[in-house]
Symmetry: C2
Subunit: 190 residues, 2 copies
DNA sequence: GTCTATATTATGATAGAC
DNA sequence: GTCTATCATAATATAGAC
């Protein structure tokens, strides 16, 4: 087994388990079990648990950047791109209802940590979404300042919906509120 | 120092510190420091840390019920009561921007715990707000089912706004989005 | 009821053989 | 690079004197 393979197994397991149980409640013993890599090896690949988290956050950033860029090339109309973004909530509904939003969970948990650099890295994720959404609103004819506000409002609404749907474990609520956000978005199309 | 005094000091310290640092990251040593009560005493008043958390959650439930009931008697118009509710976000803005929403934080953290009864207790808090808000919408002439949906939407929007404002540490964003929610609410008045 | 001292366990992290 | 064994620490929880 190559080095990068073990390293990748750890990252994959951490990404999923940090999401499901939270960062603090996930031990290296847990990750060893999930990944199949003995926990002693972890310190060959990462110098600390915080560094593993930073790596997971970078991996999430790259995933998100990749998805958003691919939409920008494959979907011509900005309003369709925004719909595609909101539709993520329904296509991922099982996980979102069970575990909440991966980004939102990290933002909340890391926002309470003593190390502010971890919170900053989680905020990078949010910034990518907000910056991208603002770009779509600008293409729809909104001024830069208004675009930023609308983007923050869109992310805010998505986060709120997922949080409540997760609290109630209610998939229907999620579906219904996604439709409401889509209707709100439709007001900016014409 | 009476028994109830020590007990109350622990609850007060726990309520605040669980909010600021999260439940899991708050140790009895931390609470001993904050409350001034030696940590050995904690197990005289509470049989476990989980029981202390349950007590804190009950205290929050009582606070919320008290506030909502007092509004129902002191504020005659339901639309004014809903405004009062949303205005909480601005009157508590310093804490909300620094630490997020106390209820939202607990919902997220406890939603990832193995003990589902803790998550249920946190959801009780949410249920109280949602039930109360639904009652206000009903008084405004909405049908019961629509009232429930609007109440969930209101809580969802508030939670989302606080989460994003907290992530960015942005008080202005909070103020602005609160105004937007108030405008949305105003649509149901006439 | 209050406090000190301590047991117990889990975790992040390290040492060193292979 | 991989794996086992182990350290050091911090946390929950308990025992028992006062």
């Amino acid at each position: 087994m190559t080095a990068s393979s073990s390293r990748q197994k750890i990252i994959t397991a951490a990404r999923r388990t940090f999401y499901e149980r939270g960062y603090e409640d996930t031990s290296f013993a847990d990750l060893a079990e999930v990944s199949g890599v003995p926990k002693g090896n972890f310190y060959y690949h990462f110098k600390s648990k915080a560094e593993l988290l930073a790596t997971v956050l970078r991996a999430r950033v790259e995933s998100v950047e990749g998805a958003l860029q691919s939409w920008s090339t494959s979907i011509p109309m900005p309003q369709e791109r925004l719909r595609r973004f909101v539709r993520m909530l329904t296509s991922e509904k099982e996980d979102l209802v069970r575990f909440g939003c991966p980004m939102g969970s990290l933002l909340m948990e890391l926002g309470k940590k003593r190390q502010p650099e971890l919170h900053e890295q989680a905020r990078t994720l949010l910034d990518i979404y907000v910056g991208w959404a603002a770009g779509q609103f600008t293409e729809l004819g909104q001024k830069p300042k208004a675009s930023r506000i609308l983007a923050e409002r869109l992310l805010s609404r998505c986060q709120g919906v997922v949080l409540i749907a997760h609290a109630y474990g209610d998939t229907q609520l999620l579906n219904r509120e996604v439709r409401d956000i889509e209707q709100w978005l439709a007001g900016f199309v014409c």
